[in-house]
Structures are given as C-alpha cells and as structure tokens.
C-alpha cells in the first residue's frame, strides 16, 4: 500500500465523496475536489513522467497551468486525450490516466540512457552531426529521434465530443479572480457595468485561498467567497470558472476556453466538452496574478523539488502533504508562508533563506513557531533520482559566489521560491510594450495599446493592501466611463504579514569540482550549461538562445523558465535584463484544444452545402453528385450498373439524338435594373450592349482589369431598364461584388441596382433536336417556332399554372432552351418536363454529359477560363469590341498578349481515334526529347465525342492558330501515356453553329 500523505482534516476538498481512479494501471483513491496531481501526491506518487530529451524522472513542480512536468495521457468518455496536465485535471470517478514519453514504463524507461550520455547531447548537438552520409539523416537518425520525442499518442478515431462557440459582448472582461480581479469586478458591477469575470481554476479567489490574510473582519478566503456570491447574484455579471482567457486579439477581442465537461467522467449528450468564448470587451482588466519563480541549483529537476506556493496549495486546498521532511529554499518571504503551514500541521520544515538578515512580521512569526531557519544558506544540489532523498546545502557568501559549510541533510521534498513573475502574457499579446521592473526582477506591462489595464501581482504589485485599493479604484474608474455611475466603495483594511522584498539571487553556483545539471527549462531539459554553450557559440540574441537551446519552447511555454533564462543571458553577456529583452508572447497563453477552436463545423458540416430545389428529385433518381464549389450538382444519373463514362455517354448522346434536361439552377443570376443598365453592361462586357433589343439575350465575356477573362454568360433584356444576367456557378459571388465595386466606387453616377436572384429561380436546360417539341407541349399557348422564339430570344409563359421565363440559349450546341420558374415551383417544373418529355425520350443529364457536349462544340468553360487566359486564347477575340472601352481593355495591348505565336484553344484528336487523352496532359513536338521537354501547351478538357464516337480534347497551345493539321504528341507521364495526336479546330461538331439556330 502506498503511504498516505493526506491530512486528516483541512482543505477545500469534499471528504464525504471518495473517488477511485487509475494511474498507470494501478487503482488509487482521492476526493471530490482533488486534481489528479493532488490525488497522486496524496497517495505518495511523485514520479509521473519523463523529460523530453534525457528522459529524466519527472514529478510535479507546480499546482496549475504553469506545470512543466506532469503531462499524462487520459481515457475519458471512451476517448483518448493525449496530453493532459495532471495539475489542471480535476479528479472524477473512474479517471484513467497513464504516463507518457517512457517505455516500457515510467519506473524503468529505456530512453533514460540519454541521461547517462547527456554530455554528448548538449544544446544543438544535432546540428553538428548526423550529416554523413547524406541519406542517413532521413533514413536512420531522424526516425530514431522522432520516436524518442513527443508525449502522448493520438487516437485516429473521430472525436465524438461537441465543442461549441459563443460570441459575447461586455463592458468589462476581467481575467482572474484573485484579489485584484474580485475587487475590480465588484466595483465595476456595482457601477452597473456588464461584467464577465473569468477564473481558470474550479475555485474562485486565487491567492486568497491559500494566504493567511485578513480583509475587514474576514479571512481572505471568506471575503472572496462573499464577493463571488454577491457577484453571481447580479444580473449584469457573468461569472465563469474553469475558463481560461488565453488570447488577446485585435480591437479588444479576447478568447476564452471554458472547460465545460472536462472535470466530469462523461459529457452529457447535448453538452459541449468545451466552449470557446469570443468576447468583445469595452475594457479589459488583466488580473492574472503571478507565477512563482524557481531557484536554480544542482539536479533541481528531481521529483520532490517543487514551487513553495504549490506545496502550500496542496496543503491548504487539498489537505495533501508533498513531503514529511521538507526543505524550504527561498529568497523572499513567500517560503515562510509554506513553512508555517507545514509547521501548523506538525511537520518540521527547515528554511534555507538566501538572505543574510531579513526582517518582517512573517519571519518573526516563523521564529516564534521555532522553525529552523538558516540564513545565507542555499541548496547546492538535490540528491535522489526518482525522488529527492536529501540535499547538499551550504552557506553562501555575501557576494553569493562562495559556498562553505557544506553538509548533506535528509529531506523528501524541496520547496523553492525565487520570488514572483507577473503573468503579463495577455497584456503583451494586446500590443503592450512591457517594461522591466528592477525591484521585482521581472517585466510588467507598460503603456496600454488597447483598452486594457493590468492589476495586482500581474502588474508587479505584491502587497494585498495596494492591490485591493488600486483594483477597487480601477474598477470604479473604468466602469464609470461606460455607465456614468460612480458608486463609491469603501476599501477594507487589510492585515498581511509578509513583506514583498526579495533577494536578487536566483542561481546557486557550482561547487568546485562538481558538474551538476542545473535546469532552467524542466520539460525540455535545458540546463545552465546549455545556455552558456549557446552564448559561447555566438547565439547571443535571446531569440537565438531560445531556438538553439529550446528554452521556453515546451508545452508550458517557459512560464517558469523564461525569466531565469534571461537572468542567465544578461549575466553572461554582461547586460542588464531589459537590454536582453524577452521573447514575444503569442496566444494561446496555455495550450487550447483544437476541436474547441474549430467548434461545430466538422465532418459533413465543415462547409455549408448548397442544394437546388430539384435536389431530392435527383437523389431519388440515382443521381451521383459532384461538388461544384459548395453546391451539389448531379454528375450523372446512374442506370443499372453503369459507370460514369457509360452513363455520361448515354446522357450526352441522348441530347444529340433526342432531348435531355439539365438542372442549371446553380448558374449565377443577377437582376440588373435601372436607367443606366445598358451603359453599365457595355462597360462591363467586352462586346457591345447598347443596342440589345428587349426580349433578346446576348452572350458576353467580362475581364479583370489585368485583361484576364473573369467570367462569361448570357444576359437578357427583360424590359427597357431590366436585365437578367447569368454567370458561371463558380464566379457568381465574385461577379456580383465586381459589379457593385464599379457601381459604388468607380462609376457612382450610373443609376443601376444589382441584386443576386440566383435563388429566386429554378432553372432547367432542355437541349436536343426534340427540345422544341417538349417546349411546345409545356407551353401550348406560345409560339415557340424558330420565328416565334428565335435563337437568343426570350419570352414569358405559364407552365401549367406557374410563371416561367423561357430563354432560347444553348451551352450544348444543340437547339436548346432554358426555363426558369420560381424556386418553390422548381420541382414541379422538373417533373412536368420529365413527364411531357417522355414521349420524346427525354433523359436528365448531369455535369459530365454537359461537359462532353460543350467540349465537342468547342465552347470554353472553367478549365479554359482558368484565370490565366485572355479572350484571344479562348478564341473569344470576336467578342472584343475595338470601338468602345471596357474593363480590362487597356491590358489587352500588352506585349505578351499580342505576340503572333500567342497560345490559343484548339481541338486534339488521337491518331488512333481510340486512346482518350487524360486531362492535364501536355502537347509536345518530340515525345522522346530529353527533359525538360519543351511544352507547347496543355490539354484543358477531354471527352468522348458522342457525335463521332472517338476521343476529343481541347488544348490551349502556343501558336494554336497555326498548329491545326499538325501531328504532335499528347503526354501524360503521370499515367505513363504518350499519344500521337492531330491538332484540329476546337469546333469539332457543327462548326458553323447551325443547330442552335435551327
């Protein structure tokens, strides 16, 4: 049985609720209110993991977010959580965790061989070796290194948990519920401000929970409880625990992750595991407190060495002793608080104070309690591998350079306090250029860049009295600007015993002849000697030091190591710390689950899906869909065992022979109205638009200003001042913005309104020689003859009771019509067309057949209009007006665009009339030329010509105009194909365009 380190009483845990949990396969017990860390410590478990590089034994160093060691792998809710900080994970019934980065187990880890070889692995050793022979790095060395690195293992199973988002706005966001957070929140809330108060931990109160102070006539803890309960009762206040404000972004937007269910064994079905809050705050109060700094000495990474504040927290909150023979090693009064707590429960600590003769109330109290205090004493080195067993201690000279009176004393933990580092991350993220505060040896926020105020110990204020006073005042002041109220709050009197002075000592010198590793970054095994080596080698900027040694790059992001690293660099470089400067703080303050950042837009919903009103008809009729942007379009309608090729050939052939119908709802439609519409179109399109009669459609091409084709489509003049524009599916949103850009910014004098009407209309293209027959039966009252409704004509009709717009336009090159009805009636129209068309052998056709039809007609589409081609390249130069100006015209005179051998679209037919040319092949003169083989151009689109029953492709090739008739090669090395081909006209079928006019 493991020894019990739980006290019989005390702490804030619920002793009525015993909880069982498993660690490394072994069952333990804790209480409700424990963290995994406190519960393990209560069971005497100090060894939880192994360090990153040397695989040295690692225990617990802190009690919260600053923990650099205790990372475990967890199974929760039947899911794997790879890297969980044991100091943050609350205990629940059945919790199951294990150590990471060790093999075969944490007690016996093969990787620890690195530790014995550590002299060969100084900082950056990998840059100096593993270079020869050259393939060995990737094949031999790197795989070994990769295996040794990393912590937990990810499961490749899909994450079943829900993560939600919430966007919230408030007057004041207050991060942290220690004394400064509570006081400022209280003052602001009393002034009527809308306040969000966020606490990272499960319990509110911060340092008040563990300090022996009095506020008014209450203990710190009682005071905190009272303020919190009052705030919770106020309608203008949101109080959140388990919520970490981790990022301060532009325009006072902060992001907070709320761990909604992580502390529970299971997530309720409709409850998120975590919720990410995007909070836009008028004012931000950063009351994030401070983190205790380690003191650096030999083997200071051994399990059992920990922050003195953490030891106190385990005692006071969890009723757990981190050791029964503690050494407190301190350079300031904080260590005494811990010592006194030990003493109070009957454990005798030894205090080693680096100071010679400090004086304060708390030291007086410690002396009165008969605590053994050794002034001018330091821990030289911890002894013990998997757990501290003793400590070499020594007296240190006044100049802190010489050690004497060496002795070894037994102990089972060493609690260190090297004073406090303000948590300035959020302030720094907001753009605040921080400043170095000499008397606390740390950086504090300086001038605010955004609307942020840092209070309390985060601002380098370490006395409770001043913290409360300034925080109440700031809370009032900040809220007053917003609510115009000024509710005076009387500031309570405070009793606090410790002074806020410290000794500027942080690192114990090496005793002569000893070569202890003295660690700065505990997770990444960065020792004093590593930093010294980096500096010796010329890596002198703090960023170089960080990158070369990996100092501060562990999962704790240097919370306990950065400042000591800076001290060391400044010492060696003989600079003051502010000159060295700190590395930049970036969000997140602490690692955030990626699922929480993403939220609910996962799986099928990672992007929206757009559907046409006929979608479910297609689905019922065996359509196989294809993504067109975020639209779903039928690609083909599967009959029997057909594959894509067979089905699309059947569908296309049926259009050429009979009639087909295609859902064209997805085409962009823009309703253009206004007296200047014609003039506007004339500027937007490359061809002339002023004389288009009412009731007629015209094909148009629009360019970007750089002369590249942006989009094409037909536009119909519905009435004098009303046009109906169509765009490609892909470009629809861009074209609308483009039009609005010119109307609002460039030509504001034009009276034109544009609005998307894509969704108002369901569209069906009816194409094929028998399409007129179908149309006539759909609209028996209309004259749809070639005279009554000529090519590019338009009319309105009544389709069995619903209004319809009929356009005689064609993409397939056949006689064709496009019928639009209002979307609610789309399915009705479709079913009518299918029903009526039955006698003409109508079949629906999908995008694949559509593509075949347009390719063999030589109609260019997206694969030719690929954002790199001008009208000439697409044989659209006939549509480019020489007379008038239009968007992009000026660019068309560029040298490259008028070169005589400019690329142009052509048709390509394999000589054997059998072998399909894969799209993305290249046309070359010499298939056997040595590489790089010069390319004439690429095959942009391929199909099986249903007209001629052989393969046909479009290609855009250099000097295309003069290449027709040439015999060349199409090459697709990817598919190992070289196909002899002939270049032909791109208009393969019906080159004169007679069918569309028939």
């Amino acid at each position: 049985m493991p020894e019990n380190f739980r006290l019989d009483q005390g702490g804030l845990i619920n002793r009525n609720k015993k909880i069982s949990f498993t660690f490394n396969g072994k069952k333990y017990f804790g209480y409700e209110g424990d963290t995994l860390a406190s519960a393990l410590l209560a069971n005497g478990v100090h060894l939880v993991g192994r360090s990153f590089k040397y695989h040295r034994p690692r225990g617990f160093f802190g009690a919260g977010v600053d923990e650099p060691y205790a990372i475990v792998q967890m199974n929760r809710n039947n899911e794997v959580d790879p890297n969980v900080r044991a100091t943050e994970q609350e205990l629940f019934e059945g919790l199951d965790a294990k150590s990471v980065n060790c093999w075969p187990n944490v007690n016996f880890d093969i990787g620890a061989i690195n530790n014995f070889l550590n002299k060969f692995f100084p900082a950056g050793f990998y840059y100096k070796t593993f270079m020869w022979p050259k393939s060995f790095w990737y094949k031999i060395y790197e795989p070994i290194i990769r295996k040794a690195a990393g912590f937990g293992s990810a499961s490749i199973k899909h994450d079943k948990e829900r993560y939600e988002h919430k966007y919230e706005y408030c007057d004041l966001l207050i991060a942290g519920t220690g004394p400064s957070g509570l006081a400022s929140a209280y003052a602001a809330a009393k002034n009527g401000a809308k306040v969000i108060l966020a606490e990272d931990k499960s319990r509110y109160g911060g340092s008040l929970l563990t300090s022996e102070v009095t506020i008014g006539n209450q203990s710190g803890q009682e005071w905190a409880e009272q303020i919190i309960s009052e705030l919770k009762s106020m309608p203008n206040v949101i109080v959140k625990n388990r919520s970490q404000v981790f990022g301060y972004y532009d325009h006072n937007m902060l992001v907070m992750s709320e761990r909604v269910s992580d502390h529970l064994p299971k997530t309720d079905k409709y409850t998120p595991k975590q919720r990410l809050w995007y909070i836009r705050a008028e004012e931000v109060v950063i009351s994030s407190g401070s983190i205790e700094r380690p003191l650096v000495f030999g083997n200071n990474d051994a399990p059992g060495v920990m922050l003195s504040s953490a030891a106190k927290e385990y005692l006071k909150i969890y009723g757990v002793l981190v050791g029964k023979k503690p050494i407190i090693f301190t350079n300031n009064d904080s260590g005494y608080e811990t010592a006194i707590e030990f003493k109070k429960i009957g454990v005798d600590p030894i205090v080693l104070d680096t100071r010679k003769d400090p004086n304060s109330e708390i030291i007086k109290e410690a002396k009165e309690l008969n605590i053994n205090i050794k002034f001018s004493y330091v821990v030289v080195a911890a002894k013990g591998y998997k757990k501290v067993k003793s400590a070499d201690i020594a007296k240190i000279s006044d100049d802190k350079k010489v050690l004497s009176n060496n002795e070894n004393i037994k102990c089972d933990c060493i609690c260190v306090s090297g004073f406090w580092t303000p948590t300035i991350h959020l302030a720094s993220q907001s753009g605040n250029k921080t400043k170095f505060k000499e008397e606390i040896d740390a950086f504090v926020p300086s001038h605010s860049k955004q609307k942020e105020t840092t209070l309390g110990s985060a601002n380098g204020i370490f006395t409770l009295e001043e913290t409360l006073k300034t925080s109440f005042e700031k809370g009032t002041e900040l809220s007053k600007q917003i609510t115009n109220k000024e509710n005076q709050i009387s500031i309570p009197t405070v009793v606090e015993k410790k002074s806020s002075k410290h000794d500027k000592f942080w690192c114990v010198p090496l005793p002569e002849g000893k070569n202890y590793k003295r660690f700065l970054d505990f997770q990444n095994d960065v020792a004093v000697s590593d930093i010294q080596l980096a500096l010796r080698e010329g890596y002198r900027s703090i960023e170089h030091v960080k990158r070369y040694t990996t100092l501060g790059m562990a999962t704790d992001q240097g919370k306990t190591s950065n400042l000591n690293g800076l001290q060391l660099v400044s010492e060696v470089e003989n600079k003051v710390v502010p000159q060295v400067g700190h590395t930049t703080f970036r969000p997140p303050y602490t690692p955030v689950t990626i699922g929480a950042i993403v939220g609910r837009e996962v799986g099928k919903h990672s992007k929206p899906t757009r559907k046409s009103p006929m979608h479910y008809w297609h689905e019922k009729n065996n359509a196989v869909f294809v993504d067109a942007g975020v639209w779903l379009r039928p690609r083909y309608y599967k009959q029997g065992n057909e594959n894509l090729f067979e089905a699309s050939k059947r569908e296309a052939k049926n259009v050429r022979q009979n009639v087909g119908v295609c859902d064209v709802t997805t085409l962009g439609k823009i309703d253009i109205k206004g007296p200047d519409s014609a003039e506007f179109l004339n500027r937007v399109y490359t061809n002339a638009w002023l004389k288009l009669p009412v009731g007629k459609a015209r094909y148009g091409v629009m360019l970007r200003e750089d002369g590249i084709v942006m989009d094409d489509g037909t536009t119909t003049r519905i009435s004098e001042n009303h046009y109906h524009m169509t765009t490609t599916t892909a470009q629809a949103p861009n074209v609308l913005s483009h039009l609005e850009y010119y109307l609002q910014l460039v030509w504001p004098e034009l009276n034109v309104n544009v609005v998307s009407s894509t969704e108002q209309w369901a569209g069906a293209a009816i194409a094929g020689p028998k399409s007129r027959d179908v149309l006539q039966k759909l609209f028996p009252d209309l004259d749809v003859s070639n005279e009554g409704l000529p090519f590019m004509g338009y009319m309105e009709g009544n389709l069995f009771g619903v209004n319809a717009k009929i356009f005689r336009i064609s993409f397939s090159g056949e006689l064709a019509y496009e019928v639009n009805v209002e979307s609610d009636n789309g399915n009705y129209m479709w079913e009518k067309i299918i029903e009526i068309g039955k006698e003409f052998n109508i079949q629906p056709y999908g995008t694949e057949a559509l593509s075949t039809l347009r390719i063999e007609m030589g109609h260019v589409a997206g694969s030719e209009l690929d954002g790199r081609t001008i009208p000439y390249d697409n044989s659209l130069e006939g549509l480019v007006s020489k007379k008038k100006d239009f968007i992009g015209k000026r660019s068309l005179s560029k040298k490259a665009y008028v070169e005589p051998d400019r690329q142009k679209v052509v048709g390509v037919v394999p000589l054997d009339k059998k072998t399909s040319i894969p799209e993305g092949s290249y046309i070359v003169k010499d298939a056997k030329a040595k590489l790089p083989n010069p390319k004439l151009g690429h095959v942009s689109a391929s199909c099986w010509s249903v007209e001629y029953d052989n393969p046909f492709s479009l290609a855009i090739i250099k000097d295309g105009k003069n290449m027709i008739g040439q015999k060349l090669f199409a090459m697709s090395p990817l598919k190992n194909k070289t196909i002899p081909v002939e270049i032909v006209s791109s208009h393969y079928v019906d080159p004169k365009g007679e069918r569309v006019r028939s």
Binding site: M253, R280, E705, D706, Q744, D885, S891
Partner: protein, 88 residues
C-alpha cells in the same frame, strides 16, 4: 477578429466584410488615352505602407456597400471609415 465601423450600419465584426485592397489606386477614366506606365501603376503597383493604409472593404454580409477604411497595418488600429461616396 477586427471590429469595423461600417459608416452605414455601425460597428460590425470582420466576418461580415470582405477585403478589397488599396483604396488609393484610382481607375483611369474610360476612353482616355493613358500611358502603359500609368496603366500598370493602376493594375499592379502598390505602396503597401507600414502604418496608415487607406483600404477598401465590402460589407458583403451586411449592407453590401463598399467602404473605405483607414487602418494601421502595424497595429491594426482603425482610425476612420468612409462611405464610398465620401472623400477621404
């Protein structure tokens, strides 16, 4: 997420807007003779200053108006926003 003052709608989150680039380039007038250099200046050349930058945004999921925004490219602070019709 930037918080952009739409001169028509008020302060709105960035997700409602789409970016439109440098607002200082001026399209040459239609039908006007213009040198190659001046045309290239309009199409391709950008000052892209570090500091104050006058730029276009379209309130695409709001009022669909193009607006001009004066913003610091280093701090992202927004100073003033203008309607398309307003002179800056």
């Amino acid at each position: 997420m930037l918080y952009i003052l739409c001169p028509h709608c008020g302060l709105r989150p960035q997700t409602e807007f789409s970016y439109g680039g440098d607002a200082t380039v001026k399209r040459p007038e239609l039908n006007k003779e213009i040198s190659d250099q001046d045309w290239d200046n309009f199409v391709y050349l950008r000052k892209s200053p570090r500091g104050k930058h006058l730029e276009l945004w379209q309130h695409i999921s709001g009022c669909r108006q193009w607006i001009k925004v004066e913003r610091d490219t280093l701090t992202h602070e927004i100073f003033t926003t203008y309607k398309a019709s307003e002179n800056t």
